[in-house]
């Protein structure tokens, strides 16, 4: 059959995740918004925005509940336990700014270190965190895994996985963070707890795709839906 959309791999659908083939690489979208590459033992998460509440307090005096780092790391720990990857890619904007990375409290640093133990950990640079951070792992502008290139902001390249836009998609009146992809580009939803979103019909997002786009909604279950 000829398809111009990345399509599902029915034999591998677990309960709530959604597996599909993207540029010849097997990918699994987790309901949490993480992406698992089982053939490469890679788990990728994008836009964690750790330290966002600290940055807001520093800049504006408004003190949001300081629990978003705990919430985000808890989620990440669950996904790591479920997929047991060798490699973890944080696809940029992992920290809300570089000062937020420096100010991360000791408990959270130790937790992050525990998660990193025994894994290769790659920090892809994002617009919020352009420099290296004083934490385990390697800092890179982009990285290639099998057929795919991972970087923070989408370019014109083919077979590319990126983040940055925090895409959301609306079906039957409900808007949820979503993966968006066509045959050459996969844009990941934001993983961090305090992150807003950009609607899938926004021109900034639409212009990145050619042809038909599929959204994979996150939530209780990763649900694929074509965008019409």
């Amino acid at each position: 059959m000829s398809l111009d959309l990345p399509y599902g791999l029915p034999q591998e659908q677990s309960m709530n995740a959604y597996s599909f083939l993207f540029c010849q690489t097997r990918c699994t979208a987790l309901p949490s918004g993480a992406l698992h590459l089982p053939d490469h033992d890679v788990l990728c998460v994008s836009d964690l925005h750790l330290g966002k509440s600290e940055r807001i307090a520093r800049r504006s005096g408004v003190m949001l509940p300081p629990y978003e780092v705990v919430e985000t790391l808890q989620k990440l720990e669950t996904d790591i336990a479920a997929t047991n990857p060798d490699h973890i890619i944080c696809l940029g904007d992992s920290f809300d700014d570089l000062d937020a990375a420096i100010s991360l409290n000791e408990d959270m640093r130790l937790w992050l270190a525990r998660l990193q133990a025994g894994k290769t950990w790659v920090w892809i640079e994002g617009n919020h965190d352009p420099g290296p951070v004083d934490m385990g792992g390697t800092h890179k502008a982009d990285i290639t895994v099998g057929t795919l290139t991972f970087r923070h902001i989408a370019t014109n390249a083919t077979a590319e996985v990126s983040g940055h836009y925090h895409p959301k998609h609306r079906v039957t009146g409900r808007s949820r963070p979503a993966f968006l992809c066509d045959t050459q580009r996969l844009i990941m939803p934001a993983y961090g707890a305090y992150t807003g979103g950009l609607a899938s019909h926004a021109p900034e997002l639409r212009k990145l795709f050619n042809g038909r786009i599929m959204a994979i909604l996150t939530g209780h279950k990763a649900i694929p839906v074509p965008i019409t």
Binding site: L3, L5, Y7, G8, P10, S53, E54, A57, R58, S60, G61, V62, M63, L64, P65, P66, Y67, E68, V70, E71, S103, N105, V171, T172, G173, R174, A193, Y194, G196, G197, R212, L217, H220, K221, I223, P224, V225, P226, T228
Partner: protein, 801 residues
């Protein structure tokens, strides 16, 4: 007895006026530290309030601000300025009068701070802002009197609490300040008087002659009111006939959307081209001002309006008030009726127009209540702490403060007189550190304590942000609407409504049908379109809940064997309900279930008011969700909740057992949309979420998103945080209104009647076209969403995978 100086005597005489007894009483008691006047509209209430100030200022000796006038509406301040300048000019008094509202220019505001007028007319929000400036002691130092107009309206909301907190500040800056309240007829004047006075000072109350009883009746039309809906389209010809027979008619609606639809239909039927205008809060300011000006000039025969015209602006010769839709609240109805015949001692004339069959019952109940002077009102709780948090931040903007002094000052506010020191310290801690169990912000505290023990802003630049967020009015996120290629705004629609529009959709705004073109930089662009039937603009307006008193009256009516006071069509309808099912009784809960269009329905009649019935819907659907009954949604009115779902429910009665409902309420509090909305309101007022950023306005959608997440996060990690406690407390009243569910549960004491039927019942019928259906975000919706996604996948040719 204070006599009028000759200048004033002459002025009254040339107008052919004599001083009213209550105006004289106000003069006689002008020295009282607190004084409240209760007078009907048109009783010279405003002049009574200002007369002592005019007298005191007439010698030209006072330097600086003498009298502050606060009203809930900007328009009212402008109106009073106009009306007050007339006697001042005619008597050639050396008095400078200015207004200061959100509409006042920046330069004018600067000048007012440096050189305040003798009389300043303002709103609670503008006043709170004034007290936040470092030069507040200079501005207010000579202040003698404050006049709070329409205090009954302010007292019902957090705006009143904010105002009274600001007054406590002013009293410290100007210890000789005397307080005057002007109120319409209310059910409990003592309660309002106690809020006005500087606690524990007494407050004298002066009652003006209430005038003759209003001439009020229900509009009887040839055509029967429809079963459902709120448009009252059927009554258009009859209303138009009334407009023709009167000089000027005000046509009140309960929501903006209904006003728009009615106005549209009125014009379609208006073959005589009578000049009729529309006025509501979603219209652009220029448009509202145009209508106001035309009204004052006597150019309009009628105005279709909402609560934005509720308050005492003088619109000239209104001789008829029409209330479309059931009034929901007797007190508000009486105040609206007071708008007609703006002449003292002439009876007001008013007509009620029920929009549907059930509202016929409600209108008759309301008419009886008016006849018996049975006003309704719910008791207010103690002063809200979110407003207190904002007050602390405002105080910090003006300069370093001493916590002990501030606490003592706040205790002089009636609503906060029982505030404990611990509760105050909680609020102060929230303002200073965020008040979290996890003390994360030691480095970035908002308030710091200096070496001398005073509290001040860590970063003085934060003052600007705090000032931009002053106020307690809950605005839903709205988007401006304008014609494509034209910069002038037509008005505003809610963002949630705009999100449902696709290009080509039509809706009503400002009485015209427009076509949605696109969304550009947070503005809805439209083009003119005259031909299509519009999609409805679902402005929320204010959906008032039926008052407890009115609900009880209706239940008493249901006990009657027959209803001679009701029109035949409505009496027959109730009779039919009694035959096929039964009529709800005050001391029992009636639950009906029946199938309809492939869905299983439950209708429960609790008569607890719209908000509480909505909460009941949420609680019950949550329990159904747990029982895997796949509820899909529900809709609530003042008297009932209708729930539908995928699975049949053979025995719904256990769902409504008091113990279950109370237990469910506790678990339910943690995660639902109404609680999140309540949280968002409190968190915005308390300064946790910002309303206006100094830069570009944050998109409302993102704000909604993040405040929900903040709520979820707090519920999970810090459930006893101050904001969560405030949210839970407010849940008992307001939007969640669990207090009235409790009232319903104790009234019915577990007596539940369950009736299973094979079709829709007469009384539940109106529920089916009710607006504001709420979807249940649960397994049932996931099932439908997955089905829809699968269908789309199938259409895309990948369905087999």
């Amino acid at each position: 007895m204070t006599t009028l100086p000759p200048k004033f005597e002459t002025w009254f005489a040339t107008r052919g006026w004599a001083i009213h007894p209550h105006q004289q009483a106000m003069l006689n008691q002008a020295d009282a530290p607190a004084l409240m006047l209760i007078a009907p509209t048109g009783g010279g209430k405003t002049l009574a309030g200002f007369l002592p100030s005019l007298l005191e200022l007439s010698d030209g000796q006072h330097d600086g601000l003498h009298t502050l006038y606060v009203s809930p509406l900007k328009a009212l301040a402008a109106d009073i300025k106009r009306n007050l300048r007339t006697p001042v000019a005619e008597m050639d008094l050396p008095i400078r009068i200015e207004d200061r509202t959100g509409d006042t220019s920046y330069t004018q505001k600067r000048r007012q701070r440096a050189d305040p007028p003798h009389i300043l007319l303002t709103t609670p929000e503008s006043l709170a802002l004034l007290t936040s400036y470092e030069d507040a002691p200079h501005i207010f130092k000579g202040l003698q009197r404050i006049i709070v107009d329409e205090i009954h309206a302010l007292a019902e909301s957090k705006r009143g609490d904010q105002l009274m907190l600001a007054l406590s500040r002013l009293q410290t800056l100007a210890p000789n300040l005397r307080r005057v309240g002007l109120s319409a007829t209310v059910e409990d004047p003592d309660a309002i008087a106690a809020e006005l006075a500087c606690h524990p000072d007494p407050c004298a109350i002066i009652n003006a002659d209430p005038g003759p009883d209003p001439d009020i009746s229900m509009l009887i039309t040839q055509e029967k009111p429809p079963w459902t809906g709120g448009g009252a389209k059927y009554a258009i010809p009859a209303v138009l006939e009334q407009v023709k027979n009167h000089k000027t008619t005000l046509i009140f609606h309960n929501t903006r959307a209904q006003a728009e639809i009615f106005f549209h239909n009125l014009w379609l039927a208006n073959i005589d081209d009578l000049p009729i205008g529309i006025h509501h809060g979603s219209l652009a300011r220029e448009q509202r001002e145009r209508v106001e000006a035309a009204m004052v000039a006597g150019e309009l025969r009628a105005i279709v309006c909402t609560g934005s015209l509720d308050l005492g602006i003088d619109w000239g010769d209104v001789d008829l008030v029409v209330q479309v839709g059931a009034p929901k609240n007797v007190k508000r109805l009486v105040q609206r009726i007071g708008r007609a015949n703006h002449r003292y001692n002439a009876p007001s004339k008013a007509l009620l127009v029920p929009a549907n069959r059930f509202e016929v019952v409600e209108c008759v109940a309301a008419l009886e209540a008016v006849k018996e002077h049975d006003l309704d009102g719910d008791r207010k709780g103690p002063g809200p702490r979110d407003v207190l948090c904002q007050h602390i931040l405002i105080t910090a903007c003006a300069g370093p403060f001493d916590a002990d002094q501030l606490y003592q000052e706040i205790k002089t506010v009636g609503a906060y007189r029982t505030l404990s020191r611990a509760a105050f310290d909680d609020c102060l801690d929230f303002c200073a550190t965020g008040g979290y169990a996890l003390r994360a912000y030691d480095k970035w505290k908002r308030l710091l304590q200096t070496a001398d023990g005073l509290w001040q802003l860590r970063d003085p630049r934060a003052a600007q942000r705090i000032r931009m967020n002053i106020g307690t009015i809950q605005d839903t996120d709205t988007l401006k609407v304008r014609m494509k290629g034209n910069f002038k705004a037509l008005g505003e629609v809610e963002e949630a409504f705009a999100a449902t529009l696709t290009p080509g959709d039509t809706f009503l705004i400002g009485g015209q049908v427009v076509r949605y073109e696109n969304l550009k930089e947070m503005t809805v662009e439209v083009s003119r379109r005259g031909d299509k039937t519009p999609k409805i603009a679902t402005f929320m307006g204010t959906k008032f809940a039926n008052s407890t008193q009115l609900s009880q009256r209706i239940l008493r009516m249901f006990e009657q064997p027959n209803w001679p006071e009701l029109p035949a069509h409505t009496a027959e309808w109730l009779g039919l309900q009694r035959r096929v099912s039964k009529l709800p009784e005050a001391d029992r809960i009636l639950v009906e279930n029946f199938p309809h269009e492939g869905r299983h329905h439950i209708c429960v009649y609790g008569f607890a008011g719209r908000n509480a019935m909505q909460t009941l819907g949420m609680l019950v659907t949550q329990r159904m969700e747990e029982l895997n009954l796949h509820p899909l949604g529900f809709v609530a009115t003042d008297y009932a909740t209708l729930i539908w779902g995928l699975d049949p429910i053979d025995d719904p009665a256990p769902l409504f057992k008091p113990d279950n409902i109370r237990a469910d309420f506790e678990t339910w509090l943690s995660g639902n949309a109404v609680m999140k909305k309540t949280f968002r309101g409190a968190a915005t007022i308390a300064g946790l979420i910002e309303r206006n950023l100094p830069q570009a306005r944050k998109s409302g959608r993102q704000a909604t998103f993040s405040s929900d997440i903040l709520y979820d996060t707090l519920a999970k990690y810090d459930p006893d945080h101050l904001m969560m406690r405030i949210t839970r407390e407010e849940a008992m009243r307001g939007l969640v209104d669990f207090g009235r569910i409790e009232e319903m549960l104790s009234r019915t004491a577990g007596r539940i009647d369950h009736i299973a039927l094979d079709r829709v019942t007469p009384l539940s019928l109106p529920m089916f076209l009710e607006q504001g259906r709420i979807a249940v975000a649960g397994a049932g919706q996931d099932r439908i969403l997955e089905e829809e996604a699968a269908r789309l996948m199938h259409e895309a040719g990948v369905g087999s995978l």
